[in-house]
């Protein structure tokens, strides 16, 4: 294939170059080794727009950092990407650091970056959560934060809208400059021949090398000026949205030889990012996290933020910086001995900040060299395949949108409130998502606190339906989805109810919600309504197909679906409407004592209900991998026990054949037996504590019955595999739960199941202003009435605290239902 310019690499720099090039009369082709844009450093970095005081004056790093920083507002506005100039702070811990601050300030002045040294008092006033050990700080108001993969993605979309073509899984293995007469011929029409690993060939008039950690190899193919990139890994932790507002600025420590040190920063998504470490590694693709690395991140972050809450960690990940060792600076521009071969080599931090400036500069140089003319501005598309983000919309706008396209009313990712419409738009975009990770980065679905536990089964279904593939295909690898069978479309069983003020509105139609609704109705409440986000009532019990439920209440041993059905039937007998497929977005108490509940559904759109009382019965969720801080790579094949339970029992999908289970919670034990029944080999159940966290009866009948070893005082110390899990390392732990060196053993497995406990699900509870209990992680309730701190709002079931037995869930929820009815009758009517 012939093209004017080939851009190698679809990271943020490559996509910025492509977008700027596409504004000239040039044909542009982007070749990317991975299966999506932003698969290298652009997806895993600190997401910081650096002010530019740090880089040495006169270097490319300084020049492009300062230029890029100034361009960021405009670029982000044009590309509709979130960006916030929150400012950067560098902390000093003592006189030596304070000297460094003065040096940085002076360097900033030479780079043209305004900074100011502030006192300890001023620092504490601005950032109350900062360590009291910090003695002074440097304040740089032009520092900012943005979303690096969203920027990359929109750059790519806009480039594609203007004609740039993207090829994925096109790993460049050779670049040859065709020199017909022993010397470069300026008018040789397509002097560069680029060959991909799969044999595809492209010829081009110019090549732009934006190959990240592999940019040295590409340059060295055509130029005698050799470069050498060392992959410098950085490990990070991500904290839950609960931590939003902990710091307003990006908190740096004084920089060292290896980089800018461990930072703690807000993100534009409302989470908090902590990291990175800096460690040179031999393998440029080795993006595993390590036990030692994460410990370093924690220790480093605690210097800035002594109260760092480890319980709020939702994910850990690592990224790779492309550190150039021969010049130690960005190498930007045309290679000295290879005309029309342009380099962006060694673009490490501040690479994200510099990307807009590098893109503009290189595109200009290429156009000049090729003698290209600018496109007529009126012909340049501004389109970036934008779609509405429902979680950021005003209720009235959202209502209108859902009416036009009901799929924007179906919430798929509960944690980040991402709707099916957004996910479909992300798949249908010009450079659309083709993988679970692609959807995650474009929509944030799966990026919240459950890390895909709930939405993964839905996402593979949507991907399958949109792309005409089998849903299982998307579980094979984080990166590619081999073609297979046609997927099926899911139905939606939703019913609609009338308006008016209700007596009791129940959020959640699991056993807790249904028990509360029935009890409220029996206690004399009139208008009782249950709202459920799933497509059918029954809650999590629908997927708990094992027996052992209901011994106390029904005096017989039922399976989960049977237990749930008893309450579904009872609610139906009592004439209680259950609205399914509807997500409650907000609960707010009104001055007149009633409560307003905002809910959204594909059919009904956005609807506001008013009720005299509300019972919260949202249940609980699983702790994700991030909360456990398991080191290793992040391949496909790691699931929480509940996700596996859903896949196997509800969707008829077997996620793997050789399984290791980490944690011995009841769901994990039950799934050990279920997976064995379904033909898998469960190699071991690994528990860090000295005893199982599950019930003894489950250890006996789920593990011992099938000779599955339970390894107590052991934990998983490494997860192996790039695409898919290939094995795990397990080690014994000491009394401090630290792995004991020399005790490692290895398991060859394709699946790691995490069963590490449950946390009450209380986003709505917090929105309603209900006082929380730090110990149970649920609302504070009066056990006699199950009343919360907000009058008229009651709570029942696992939303309050995680119960062992569903019989106690329904019992306590009935108390909540009766109290809610009494409240409505007494105060409301």
């Amino acid at each position: 294939m012939k093209t004017d310019v080939i851009v190698v690499g679809a990271g943020v720099v490559g996509c910025a170059v492509a977008r700027e090039l596409a504004r000239w009369n040039l044909s542009v082709t982007v070749l990317e080794a991975g299966s999506d844009v932003a698969e290298g450093a652009s997806k895993a970095n600190s997401a910081i727009v650096h002010a530019g005081f740090d880089a040495n004056p006169g270097t490319n790093k300084a020049k492009f950092n300062v230029l890029g920083n100034r361009m960021f507002e405009d670029v982000c506005r044009e590309l509709k990407v979130p960006f916030r100039r929150n400012g950067s702070i560098v902390l000093a811990f003592g006189p030596e650091d304070e000297a460094t601050l003065r040096e940085l300030k002076e360097r900033g002045e030479r780079n043209g970056v305004p900074t100011e040294i502030i006192s300890q008092d001023e620092l504490r006033r601005r950032e109350p959560n900062v360590s009291s050990e910090a003695t002074a700080a440097l304040w740089a108001p032009t520092g900012g934060i943005c979303c690096p993969y969203e920027l990359t993605f929109r750059y790519a979309e806009n480039a594609a809208a203007n004609g740039a073509e993207f090829f994925f899984e096109a790993k460049v293995v050779n670049v040859v400059r065709i020199v017909p007469h022993g010397d470069y011929v300026p008018d040789a029409p397509f002097p560069y021949m680029v060959t991909c690993e799969d044999g595809r060939e492209f010829t081009a008039r110019a090549v732009v090398n934006c190959a990240g950690t592999h940019s040295d190899e590409l340059n060295n193919l055509v130029s005698h000026r050799k470069y050498s990139i060392t992959a410098r890994r950085g490990e990070y932790l991500m904290l839950d949205r609960d931590e939003d507002g902990t710091f307003s600025a990006t908190m740096f420590q004084c920089p060292g030889k290896m980089g800018k040190g461990i930072l703690v920063s807000p993100t534009v998504d409302g989470t908090v990012i902590v990291g990175p470490t800096a460690e040179d590694v031999d393998d440029k693709e080795d993006k595993a996290t390590t036990y030692a690395g994460l410990e370093k991140v924690k220790a480093g972050a605690r210097r800035t933020y002594p109260d760092l809450p480890i319980g709020k960690v939702i994910a850990e990940f690592s990224g790779m910086r492309a550190h150039e060792t021969t010049v130690g600076d960005f190498v930007i521009g045309e290679a000295v001995d290879a005309p029309c071969f342009f380099n962006a080599v060694g673009v490490e931090s501040p690479g994200l900040t510099s990307a807009p400036a590098i893109g503009l500069y290189l595109a200009g140089r290429v156009a000049e060299r090729l003698g290209a003319s600018r496109k007529n501005p009126s012909l340049i598309s501004k389109d970036v395949s934008w779609w509405p983000k429902t979680r950021e919309m005003k209720p009235s706008e959202l209502a209108e949108l859902v009416e036009r396209d009901p799929s924007f009313g179906r919430v798929v990712c509960r944690c980040e409130e991402v709707t099916e419409g957004e996910i479909r738009a992300a798949i249908r975009a010009r450079v659309g998502a083709r993988t679970l990770d692609g959807i995650k980065r474009r929509t944030r679905s799966g990026m919240g606190r459950c890390q895909g536990g709930f939405c993964t089964p839905r996402l593979i279904e949507i991907l399958g339906a949109e792309l005409g593939l089998s849903p299982e295909a998307f579980l094979l690898s984080r990166k590619t989805a081999p073609a297979a069978l046609k997927a099926r479309e899911a139905g939606n069983g939703e019913r609609v109810t009338g308006n008016g003020v209700l007596d009791v509105l129940v959020v959640g139609a699991g056993p807790a919600g249904l028990a509360a609704a029935c009890a409220a109705k029996e206690a004399g409440a009139d208008g009782v309504l249950v709202i459920e986000r799933d497509d059918a009532p029954g809650g999590i019990l629908q997927q708990c197909i094992h027996n052992g439920f209901g011994l106390h209440r029904f005096k017989e041993e039922l399976t989960g679906p049977e237990y749930a059905q008893r309450f579904v039937d009872k609610a139906a007998e009592l004439g209680i409407p259950v609205v399914c497929g509807t997500m409650v977005l907000d609960i707010s108490p009104r001055p007149d004592g009633s409560v307003e509940v905002t809910a959204m559904s594909p059919r009904g759109g956005l609807k506001v209900y008013r009720s005299r009382s509300v019972v919260l019965a949202m249940g609980c969720r699983e702790r994700p991998r991030g909360a456990l801080m398991t080191p290793g790579t992040r391949p496909a094949g790691v699931y929480t026990a509940g996700t596996v339970q859903r896949l196997v029992n509800m969707d008829g999908i077997m996620p793997g054949r050789r399984v290791v289970i980490l944690g011995s919670g009841d769901i994990g034990l039950i799934m050990a037996r279920r997976l064995t029944f379904s033909g898998a080999k469960v190699l071991a159940c690994v528990e860090i504590m000295k005893k199982s966290s599950g019930l003894m009866r489950n250890v006996v009948q789920c593990l011992n019955d099938y000779d599955i070893p339970l390894l107590l005082s052991h934990t998983v110390t490494d997860v192996e595999g790039r695409e898919h899990v290939t094995g795990v390392k397990v080690a014994k732990v000491d009394d401090d739960l630290k792995p004991i060196p020399g005790t490692e053993m290895h398991f060859d497995c394709d699946t790691l199941v995490l069963s590490c406990g449950l946390i009450p699900e209380n986003e709505l509870t917090k929105k309603a202003g209900v006082e929380m209990d730090a110990r149970t992680r649920g609302p504070k309730v009066d056990p006699k009435t199950m009343a919360t701190s907000v009058p008229g709002i009651f709570a029942g079931g696992n939303v309050v605290r995680v119960y062992d037995l569903v019989d106690w869930v329904s019992r306590d929820s009935e108390i909540a239902g009766r109290s809610a009815a009494a409240y409505a009758i007494q105060y409301g009517r």
Binding site: I545, L558, N649, R697, V699
Partner: protein, 113 residues
């Protein structure tokens, strides 16, 4: 012999002594524990819950043995479940496999589909 009762979440630790044909149990919190211990040393049994295919759908139907079956028959029961495909509609309690694996116990549906 020590064993843990699996009847309910309490998980009582049972002491079981077998003297000829006589089985004596202590440590149980209720009569079901005693019955469990006796059956565990003479003829251990288990409830089996599982899934069967539904014609024309990916989603499987959850099922269970109506009562416990001999432990040695678990594999045969699972095999019979794997061999079965049902037609909808199905209601809770419908017999899906009569006298599964010659146990005299029916496999019944545990969900309405």
């Amino acid at each position: 012999m020590k064993m843990i009762c699996i009847n309910c979440p309490k998980g009582c630790e049972l002491d079981v002594e077998v003297d000829g044909g006589e089985v004596s149990v202590s440590g149980h919190g209720c009569p079901r524990g005693e019955a469990y211990a006796k059956s565990e040393v003479t003829n251990p049994t288990r409830m089996v819950t599982g899934l069967v295919r539904v014609a024309g759908m990916r989603k499987p139907l959850p099922v269970k043995t109506r009562t416990a079956i001999p432990k040695g028959k678990i594999d045969a029961v699972l095999f019979a479940m794997h061999q079965t495909t049902v037609q909808l509609p199905v209601k809770i309690g419908d017999v899906i496999i009569p006298s599964v694996a010659d146990t005299g116990v029916d496999v019944v549906a545990t969900a309405n589909m």
